[in-house]
Symmetry: C2
Subunit: 197 residues, 2 copies
């Protein structure tokens, strides 16, 4: 049975990239999944998708009736999730936020760590399953880490985020600082900040 | 800051063994933790502790004021946990149950899998950190898997539980079937069942 993988509403780069990366991993492991989004990507995310030649994921608002089983990344709170989250089965959860207002009817696979970005955790999932990360997926994951940590400047940044980002930059074939600044500049985040200043 | 590690109220063998095993792992990794219990062990668990020369963990009912940070194993629901669970910080959660009535104020490390026993998941934590499992800890973990899966007969048993149990039996130096039947016989579970029959 095909599952959809998605991040939170008003998706940021981590919500989109983590869905794409985890969906890719699950498919490599023999499951059938599709990365979708609960909203249209912002300018920063569009820049990253375009840079690594990845299509914008389609937007969904409900899982049922097609997808009784879903996978959550980069969020767990029901109010940030798909409309009918209470009526579907969550089989996997990969996240770096506190747990709140999240309940399942069945045991599930969950991997949470107190790190700066969901894609840092997903890197460890690739390692655990010994699946190689293709360059374009590595590029998206790196974009998510840069976005969530504001190029390693946010207080939530951990050593592991930095180590993983270095490895991803190498696989993606980009310079972390050069690409990162370009991506943040392209995004609404920095644009807004600059406008405010 | 020292943390306590505990399973659910009315502890079964998994609740006690998972606390002991995860506490051992965390201590090896440089943290200071103590495995405690939210109640006295049952006859089956006492048999396992005695067989592997492990002391019965002390019983606690509250974490505060000594332990503002705690680690949960083999449960997550507040009503199954320590009395003041809502007032303390959960830093780690290792479990194989559905998530319900569990909320944290901060991001945490969580590893949940839909397998038959928490100790199966903890085996993977040892692997991940490349920490060797001593024989007595392996014996307790094996006891938990045998207990939760009723010697691999319960419908919740997975292939992974069986694989991990085999490896643990080798480390512990016991025959899984022989030891398992003895332990289950010593326990209240089978004693009750036999009495009913
Ligand atoms: Mn996000
Ligand atoms: Mn994130
Ligand atoms: Mn239990
Ligand atoms: Mn259990």
């Amino acid at each position: 049975m095909k599952k959809i993988v998605f991040g939170h509403r008003n998706p940021d780069t981590d919500a989109i990239a983590a869905a794409k990366a985890y969906s890719y991993l699950k498919n490599q492991l023999g499951e059938e999944t599709e990365a979708v989004a609960l909203g249209t990507p912002n300018e920063e995310t569009k820049y990253a998708l375009n840079y690594f030649n990845e299509p914008v994921p389609r937007v969904v608002t409900k899982a049922l009736p097609e997808y009784p089983e879903v996978i959550l990344v980069d969020h767990n709170e029901a109010q940030q999730s798909i409309e009918d989250i209470r009526e579907v089965t969550v089989t996997d959860l990969i996240d770096h936020h506190r747990i709140a207002n999240f309940e399942t009817a069945f045991p599930l696979y969950a991997h949470l760590e107190p790190v700066g970005c969901t894609c840092t955790i997903i890197f460890r999932e690739f390692e655990r399953h010994a699946v190689e990360i293709p360059a374009h997926i590595a590029g998206l994951m790196l974009s998510a880490i840069i976005s969530d940590t504001l190029l390693f400047k946010s207080p939530t940044t951990t050593e592991m985020d930095q180590l993983v980002a270095e490895k991803l930059a190498e696989i993606a074939g980009v310079d972390c600082q050069v690409y990162g600044l370009e991506m943040l500049k392209a995004g609404t985040n920095l644009a807004t900040k600059t406008a405010e200043e």
